[in-house]
Amino acid sequence: MIQQLSFLFCLFISLQASAGGWLQNEKEGYFKLGQTIIHGNQFYNGEGKQTDIITTGVYLTSLYGEYGLSKKFNLIGYIPFLSRSVVNAVRFESGAFQEGDELTSFGDSDIGIKYGVRQNKSLVISASLVLGLPLGNAEGGESGLLQTGDGEFNQLVTLSFGYGFNFPLYLNADLGFNNRTKGFSEEIRAAFELGYVWNKKVIIAAKFSTVQSLMNGEPTGSSGNGIFSNNLEYVSFGPEISYRINEKLGLTASYFSAASGRFVLAEPAYGLGIFMELK
């Protein structure tokens, strides 16, 4: 579950930080330290209906970065170096008590490369290949049931479009295909972002993202941890505000709702971050 949520965060964070269709200039970069939290007891089950589960929390502290290797290539990486998941203890009406559980470890990370197909135009296009590295823990906690990774190596290919309007508005659109291994279903990922830049200091963006499973894997994936781990889907949207403190540093805050989904927490994701631009 946690692993899947980390993918969710990965996408969120990518959306927060990514320049979409635009590339960083050569030897320039964008780096963001972020904290993302999902916490709650509502869960979208396999039928897409909300149901109660034991309160679960996921807390991700991560670094996201894009660096211009050349005019055409960017190196991109996402490292959840502190991935913590907890599940609450339960006191039952009958008097029984069930211990909670927790896991803190390095999480599944991403590394990839982005290629500028068309740049320096109103409409920019880029393509990226991101490899999901199974660096997290697939069987953690006292129960061995918590995860910060699934042990699965996936490859996400994304085509990104960016369009800058004459007035301070921009539009980003991403369409990706996530090839997954070890019995997990492949995924289609899509994201849209409409942003407004105010006074070169503040960016207000409305973001939408979705993951749709092709349902072509095993029901639970070979990991066997089937409650959240395969055929996950969601539709999420929400605002993000970025504030540039000075030429190099800035702050971001975001809120993404889980409008619908399958096998995913039906709880909003809160994000805070500080970013640094290398110029």
Binding site: Q35, T55, V87, R91, I227, I274
Partner: protein, 391 residues
């Protein structure tokens, strides 16, 4: 520097914010109220005429606690046995009575066979005879210590014009008809034997009825068989047989010999044809004692669980038997739960990885009617993967 400070802050925040909390969940274990008579027998108990016994019943409230309350006791056959409001049962005469205990809307019941140690057992080598022939009857007297004692009996034939009986128990057939023979000592009477006196060898001379069992539950049916023979023991085909039940409130029987239990108690089943009357079978009808329940799994919350499960009584214990066709999607921390709802419940065992055709023993404090659902439950996250409602 600012970036490093921010890094320190977010790590600290992450560690502090991700503490384990505590949820409170109704686990479906709020017990049903229960009222049950304490008995080691299988729904039928015995008591001697003249003896008394204190019947105990236990009431459990919704918390599963045993609570002492004023229970209401009753006996269905007051001429057989009485019971007071303390549960003291007194045997009065031979027979069967149904003891019922109630509290609010709860009820439990138990059949009691009241029998007498001091008795006369009457027997004959046959119960039909040709006019002019005779039958030797045999009577045995057992005293109050259940010891066979030799004594002189008083013999009676209910229809002396059909057959007479002398002081040695020899019955002489006089004319065609039917008579009932009884032996007695000091007011104590034997069982009755009905004798058919027939005119010729083509008449019905004997009827024998049989059944696979003499105990059924309410609403349960039992087929009786009958064999009709002439005086030479040759079966007669197509004889007009009439079936009867001595207590139609307890059991009925149709013209085909199919009996149906209606209420708890005992009824004597007999058949007759011509002047011949069959042996009698005392049919005991009792409240259904559940010994097995079954259900079929269906998935929940989008997870796949299929197949059959049975809860069976094995000896003095209970087991859950998962059939060959049982299959569950794998998942984290899957357990077998029993519950009275489709969420939560009492944990029974971890679901085996090779999850088909296996048996799980249930704790001794669980009764077969305590829970109505078997759940495949993801324990760490509190999510049902599938449920089977027990019939």
């Amino acid at each position: 520097m600012i970036f490093l400070r921010a890094l320190f802050c977010v790590v600290l925040f992450s560690c502090l914010s991700g503490c384990i909390g505590e949820d409170f969940i109704d686990d479906g274990l709020a017990q049903r109220e229960r009222l049950s008579i304490v008995s080691n027998s299988n729904g039928i108990d015995t008591l001697l005429v003249g003896d008394s016994v204190l019947i105990e019943a236990k009431y459990y409230n919704k918390n599963g606690d045993e609570v002492v309350n004023d229970l209401n006791w009753s006996s269905s056959k007051l001429e057989v046995a009485t019971i007071d409001q303390n549960g003291l049962l007194r045997g009065l005469s031979e027979g069967v009575t149904n003891i019922v205990v109630t509290f609010n809307d709860l009820q439990d019941e138990q059949l009691f066979i009241i029998w007498q140690v001091e008795r006369i057992e009457l027997d004959a080598n046959r119960n039909s005879v040709l006019v002019g022939d005779s039958i030797q009857f045999d009577a045995k007297y057992f005293n109050e210590n259940d010891v066979l004692v030799t004594t002189q009996f008083n013999w009676t034939s209910s229809n002396a014009s059909v057959a007479s009986i002398d002081s040695n128990g020899i019955l002489l057939a006089i004319q065609e008809g039917q008579t009932t023979v009884t032996a007695s000592v000091n007011g104590l009477e034997s069982n009755n034997i009905i004798v058919a006196v027939i005119q010729d060898t083509s008449s019905v001379a004997s009827i024998e009825i049989t059944s696979d069992t003499n105990q059924i539950n309410i609403q349960q049916e039992l087929q009786f068989s009958v064999v009709v023979k002439n005086i030479n023991g040759t079966p007669l085909i197509g004889s007009n047989v009439t079936w009867s039940s001595s207590d139609l409130a307890v059991a009925t029987i149709n013209s085909g010999g199919l009996a149906t239990g209606l209420s708890a108690g005992s009824s004597k089943i007999t058949a007759s044809a011509g002047n011949a009357v069959s042996n009698e079978i005392s049919l005991l009808v009792s409240q259904a004692m559940t010994t097995s329940r079954s259900g079929v799994f269906s998935g929940a919350n989008g997870y796949r669980v299929t197949g059959n499960v049975e809860m069976n009584t094995v000896g003095s214990g209970l087991v859950l038997e998962f059939a060959d066709n049982f299959s569950s999607q794998s998942g984290p921390g899957l357990y077998i739960y029993l519950s009275n709802s489709t969420t939560g419940g009492v944990e029974i065992a971890k679901l085996p990885q090779q999850s088909r055709s296996f048996t799980v023993n249930l704790p001794s404090n669980i009764s077969i009617d305590d829970y109505n659902y078997v759940l495949i439950w993801c324990k760490p996250f509190g999510v049902s993967f599938g449920t089977a409602q027990l019939n």
